[in-house]
Amino acid sequence: MLRLVVRRLLQLIPTLFGLTVLLFIWIHRLPGGPAWALLGERGNEAARRQIEEQLGLNEPLLVQYGRWLRRLLELDLGNSVKTGQPVWDEFTLRFPATFELGVTALLFAVIIGIPLGYFAARRRGSWLDVTAVSGSLLGICVPVFFLAMILRSIFAVNLGWLPSGGRLTTGIDATDVTGFAVLDGVLTGEFDASWDAIQHLILPGLALASIPLAVVVRITRASVLEVLSEDYVRTAESKGLRKSVVRGRHVLRNALLPVVTTVGLLTGSLLSGAVLTESAFSFGGIGSFIRQAISDRDYPVLMGFILFIALLYMLINLVVDLTYGLIDPRVRVN
């Protein structure tokens, strides 16, 4: 097992290396440079030359890449061109927001999706089934930015139940410990800060949940259906076991395995959604920051952030694969 883990981890290295090369070439092919992005209307040719010289952008791409790589080995990702701060600091500053948002979205998806999928499967073909499945599919069909605006319009502006954006209410007394707003409140005993952070998470969380929700419903439904047709369920039922026992012990538990693993694989699409959701709710996470970095031609930020995201994605994949192996001995053989 350990050897497998090590081997898989080692396999990540060439992939990541290849990714940095491709990424480096790709983002330096973006037309224009950071100079215009930095100065806007006030930019001029001399300023552009000056900035490019300072950033070393006038050197051959290979030299630039070599320097970037050498510094990466020293664990230095360079500084953001836009904010002038180390990329790593920018990442740690923004990652907690995206993480909280992603977890909230997954929670919503699981809390709503699993019961929905389960009952859809139990009453397969009924109108409940059709409604549940099409309803959850409707979620992915609504453009996230539009959904965000509708949610804000209803719950923040008209009903006034929830804040319209941001991570914390201005002026609330929250001590920053870890950067995770909800966790910080709990750690410092400022529960109202935690509660405030949770309120700020609900609307963006719902908007973002629209994507994984459909997947969770579908996988749950399919997997419950499959389990229901298994012999051991039939045996259990024909044995006269109580229905709740059959459902709880046999059906749900076995059906949930694929759901759990699929949820892990949703991180990629969640990050895509986060770009839009964070922008729409002024939720300062990595998604909206990368989007900005693309238009600012903030090369170090793009390299650093995308590398992190890729690494994260691959590690999650690895963990999912391995848990699969742990749970299902048939897979391990291969």
Binding site: P34, G40, L93, I111, M149, G160, L168
Partner: protein
Amino acid sequence: MRIARPRAARTLVAALAIGLVASGCASERDDDNSGGDSEVFVFGAAGDPAAIDPSLGSDGETFRVTRQAFETLIDHEPGGTELVGGLAHDWSSNEEGTEWTFELEEGVTFHDGEALTGEVVCQNYDRWFNWAGTYQNTTLSYYWQAVFGGFAENESEDVPEPNYVGCEAPDELTATITVAEPSANYPGGFSLQAFSLHSPKAIEAYAEDDPSGEGENITFPGYSQEAGTVAGTGPFQVTDWNKGNGEVTLERFDDYWGETDAGVEELVFRTIPEESARRQALQAGDIHGYDLVAPADVSTLEEEGFQVPIRGVFNILYMGIIQERQPELEDVQVRQALAHALDRQNIVDTQLPEGGVAATQFIPDTVAGYSEDVRTYEHDPELAQELLAEAGAEDLTLEFCYPTEVTRPYMPAPADIYELLRADLEAVGITVEPKPLTWNPDYQETTRSGGCDVYLLGWTGDFNDAYNFLGTWFDGYTKEWGFQNDEIFDLLSEVRTEPDVATREAMYQEANEAIMEFLPGVPISSSPPSIAFSPDVNLPTVSPLTQENFAEVSFK
């Protein structure tokens, strides 16, 4: 087989219901709180500031924040563009316009308790002049280079020669700044937020905190990214910058030298990049005001009781023409045809916020040097067609660049303005090829390097001197205009070093007339960016330069 109602689902529904009700109650409670102490004024900004040291800034979002904490030698009158005393109550220059003497206000204290003296003024200017390393990069010292040229020791050939010579403090409350050559940038330049004065203690602290010049990084120095070190003289002091939440917090400075203290105890600038999100935040009561209101929202907000004061105009939107791209465009008749084809009044009537005006020349009428006698080009499609026919350019095809995903103070919705102009041009038989580009940086780069036939761009003035507008474009050949016209170029080079303000004004009028005769582009409009506030605040005086002083804000 009957399916029993699941207990889990019922619990879930109950939990959700409780959550919703609780959140409803909680937010009501919050509202009560903020209504109770009502001393925090939150303003929605469109972007984060780059730094909290204005010397390093070059954009409106930075200056909006720093302006509340830092002050300059000369200021603009509230709500206008005339220069008035700031930290210096009087200023004068010698006849050549090379020695500028400032008489300082008495009893000005910095946020850290230091006093303002002539010596301090010199420390500030010498600090900028002696900047080295990364500071010499345009990103950090744009305005210094634009107004005072280079540094004591220039480290790159792209840095201009310094025009600053030195500074002396003959007595406690006087400072004299010497420059090598007179310039249209003075005295207006002394009013720029970038040249706000810092406390001497703070300047010492800055010196120890150099931006790392190492390698290819441009790093803003640490002190400019965190509250605590910077100290100015303004009615507020910066107390916190929470980058994760995008919030800069300023607190009232109780020893403010001015007559009245700030009307609110705490002022917070919160970054909300999306336009519609800013509006909804105001409507939901999360913020008390925001800038760059979309024109369409103005009437909606007013109907709902929000206050939308109208600013004066201090910007210009124009359609640039790059003549060297097509021989037809070098023909003045063709350019005149373009001007006659455009229905600029329609854009003002349907697109721009109240207070917007169609432009007759490349400066708004609030700038000294505006001429009443320029040649004007009325909307006249038939005349346009005739002119095109005479010039033999009936089948003119234009590549029209316009920016997407951006809102500028002079251009609330570029794509819509483009659409209207396109329809106008097509109405006179011109074929228009659209070339939309993202504002950052493609649009900037393409238009500056001469990549389109015609394009939309504009300018917001820094201070009231026409050179700040005209000089930017027409004091020499640039690719973004692509023409040679020595008459115009010479006129502007001459005015650049003319020390006398009145003479300058006359020369600007002459230049405006020559420019509109030659018609290098079509000025379209000037429009005031709208700013909105919640019903329960007393408004600050709105400024055409978007230099609102938030110390004037208070809750009703």
